[in-house]
């Protein structure tokens, strides 16, 4: 990496951190610290909601996901606009009217303390762990790029986020979100243009997409219903709606973003704008991954995109076998490349409007592609044997590897700055929400209820630092996961169904009381964890299963309970 890249990356990142600290150094009250004084306009709510959801994992792992599995991951987001509408009509006006700091305060008002604590506890566990993932993702990049020690990198990135979040709280989170989203849009937009420019002469962007399509990467929508299929239209629309309802309606990291809106109207518009922008944005990021895939149809990719894994395989006992695989891979790739070029030339010469490929050529492309996949799979086996600690699954390294080796000087730094900005933006919102829940739902409710506002402000800062350290600690032990974006979503889905059930009952089933809800929540959570451990049901369905089980059980238990006795009239 050149000094210009360093300058761009460090310059952007330092500016964001210093700006956040400087602009919000006088957070004078708990309300300002935890909810930015409830004064945020709608466009800032929208950007903040988007920045919170779109972490570095989104920009690192999603293009790799498209490279490996095609565009179909976009179906995951189909339920999001539906969820936005439901929340705008239910949770947003209610939370605003009750003037709550956290979503879980509402649970006590509706049920009782134990349900509030259960909601807060489930949030703290899953979001605390997820915050570790969001710090880990950019650390992995820098480790690969610069050969830094992973633990040191995690600590430095985590410390930067903790610094401005602890100083400025929600206001710092919101103000830096605007800057961070601008950097992300610039970095990813330029990367998109330069991938197109990197394609060989005579191969247009449309040609690239057509080739990728023939090799199975343009599978945007799949309507075939299969329980075992992780991403299809039905799991995206149904499971995705439940997941988005749960994430945006009950996860304090998102609830705090729109509770900071200056009115119900501003919060609603912010969420609805997110419902418009999110799917096209994810589509564009996935398309970037498909274009990277298309680029590597004309240039030889590494057998494994993780340089650490490759180095381990080269140094291991089976180094000879790995080199043989590399040779075979290069041979198959060259053959496939010549088939693709011939097919493109023939389609161009035929002058057909659709530039259709010859069936035989497509069959050859697919056969050779399958052969490449087989060799990549064998290579992963050798990596695992040589170094069990190295990440053999290279999904998260694909886009980064491409950026380092193909993008021009300066832009590598900008892409890295964008990835760092995305990581910091979501981690900051998570830490702020974790601190809010810890202070409002646990500390102020159970430990010290009668102190002045300055005391709670100080405790909020301490809670932010605590959760920052917790997330950093978790990140140090989570570096062997597969696709990071999937890992985060799986983790969320383990808890979201139960939390959503809790809130749905609170909103819509007035006849159900606290104790049946609490028992049903514990049982539903056990059921979801059982599904995770003992079945192969795709994770998006956990949200539906947990929520449905929770609602059903709570209603049954309520019916089974004897009617509550009224105290005798005096």
């Amino acid at each position: 990496m050149s000094w210009i890249d360093w300058l761009v990356m460090v310059g952007f990142s330092a500016f964001v951190v210093l700006y956040g600290v400087w602009k919000t150094r006088h957070a004078g009250s708990t309300e300002r610290y935890l909810l930015a004084g409830r004064s945020t306009p709608w466009f800032a709510v929208m950007l903040s909601v988007m920045a919170t959801q779109a972490s570095a994992i989104t920009f690192l792992s999603t293009p790799g996901q498209a490279y490996v599995d095609g565009m179909r991951f976009v179906q995951f987001y189909l339920g999001l606009p539906v969820a936005m509408i439901i929340l705008c009509q239910t949770a947003v006006p209610l939370f605003h009217r009750l003037k709550v700091f956290t979503a879980y305060e509402f649970l006590e008002q509706r049920f009782d303390l134990k349900n509030r604590l259960l909601g807060a506890f489930l949030f703290l566990v899953q979001r605390g762990l997820a915050a570790g993932f969001t710090i880990l993702a950019p650390a992995l990049i820098l480790t690969v790029l610069l050969g830094w020690e992973l633990r040191l990198t995690v600590a430095v990135i985590g410390a930067l986020v903790v610094l401005y979040t602890a100083v400025g709280g929600s206001e710092a989170v919101g103000k830096t979100h605007l800057l961070q989203m601008a950097i992300v849009a610039l970095g990813m937009g330029l990367a998109f243009v330069l991938v197109l420019c990197a394609l060989p002469e005579g191969v247009s962007g449309l040609d690239a997409v057509r080739v990728a399509g023939k090799l199975g990467k343009m599978n945007v929508l799949t309507f075939d219903f299969d329980w075992r299929d992780r991403y299809n239209f039905w799991s995206g629309l149904v499971g995705g709606t439940f997941l988005a309802l749960s994430y945006f309606g009950t996860d304090q990291s998102q609830v705090s973003r729109y509770l900071a809106g200056r009115s119900v109207r501003e919060s609603r518009i912010g969420l609805l704008a997110n419902g418009i922008v999110k799917i096209p944005m994810q589509f564009a990021i996935l398309l970037l991954g498909v274009l990277v895939f298309a680029y590597y149809q004309f240039a030889l990719p590494p057998l494994n995109f993780n340089p650490g894994a490759e180095a381990a395989a080269h140094a291991g006992e089976d180094a000879g076998a790995y080199r043989r695989l590399e040779g075979d891979f290069a041979r198959v790739h060259a053959e496939k490349q010549s088939v693709i070029r011939a097919a493109l030339a023939a389609a161009g010469a035929s002058g057909s409007v659709g530039r259709g490929f010859d069936d035989d050529a497509v069959a050859s492309m697919r056969r050779l592609h399958r052969e490449e996949l087989r060799l990549r799979s064998e290579a992963k086996g050798l990596v695992r044997a040589a170094a069990p600690d190295a990440a053999a699954d290279d999904t998260n390294y694909i886009f980064l590897n491409f950026a380092i080796h193909v993008l021009p000087t300066g832009l590598v730094g900008l892409v890295l700055a964008a990835i760092l900005a995305a990581s910091m933006s979501s981690t900051a919102a998570e830490l702020n929400a974790l601190a809010s829940t810890t202070v409002i739902d646990i500390y102020k409710r159970l430990v010290r209820a009668d102190r002045d506002d300055r005391h709670y402000l100080r405790v909020s800062r301490l809670a932010t630092v605590f959760w920052g350290l917790f997330a950093i600690g978790f990140a140090l032990f989570a570096n062997r996961q597969g696709s990071l974006i999937e890992a985060v979503n799986i983790l969320g889905s383990l808890f979201y169904g139960t939390i959503l059930g809790l809130f749905l009952i609170a909103f819509f089933l007035k006849g159900v009381s606290g104790t049946p809800v609490f028992v049903a929540a514990l049982a539903a959570e056990a059921l979801v964890l059982g599904c995770f451990v003992f079945t192969e049901i795709p994770y998006l369905w956990y949200n539906v299963i947990g929520c449905a089980a929770m609602v059903l059980l709570a209603c049954l238990l309520q019916k089974a309970l004897p009617p509550r006795r009224r105290p005798p009239a005096a």
């Binding site: 565009m71 976009v74 189909l78 606009p81 539906v82 936005m84 509408i85 705008c88 009509q89 239910t90 006006p93 209610l94 009217r97 997409v209 057509r210 990728a212 399509g213 023939k214 199975g216 343009m218 599978n219 945007v220 929508l221 799949t222 009115s263 119900v264 109207r265 609603r268 518009i269 609805l272 419902g275 418009i276 799917i279 096209p280 589509f283 909103f507 819509f508």
Partner: protein, 46 residues
């Protein structure tokens, strides 16, 4: 549900549309349009 009627207060009126229901329908229409575009892309390129 205990929320107030969505369109009651003048300061809570949505932009462009007269009611929030109008905006919600527009958002659902946008989703439908995206699904149709994605379907076409899948058909054309796969």
């Amino acid at each position: 549900m205990t929320t107030r009627p969505a369109d009651a207060a003048p300061e809570e009126r949505p932009p462009v549309f007269k009611t929030w229901r109008g905006i919600y329908l527009a958002l659902l229409g946008n989703l439908l349009l995206l699904i149709m575009v994605f379907y076409l892309i899948t058909k054309v390129f796969s």
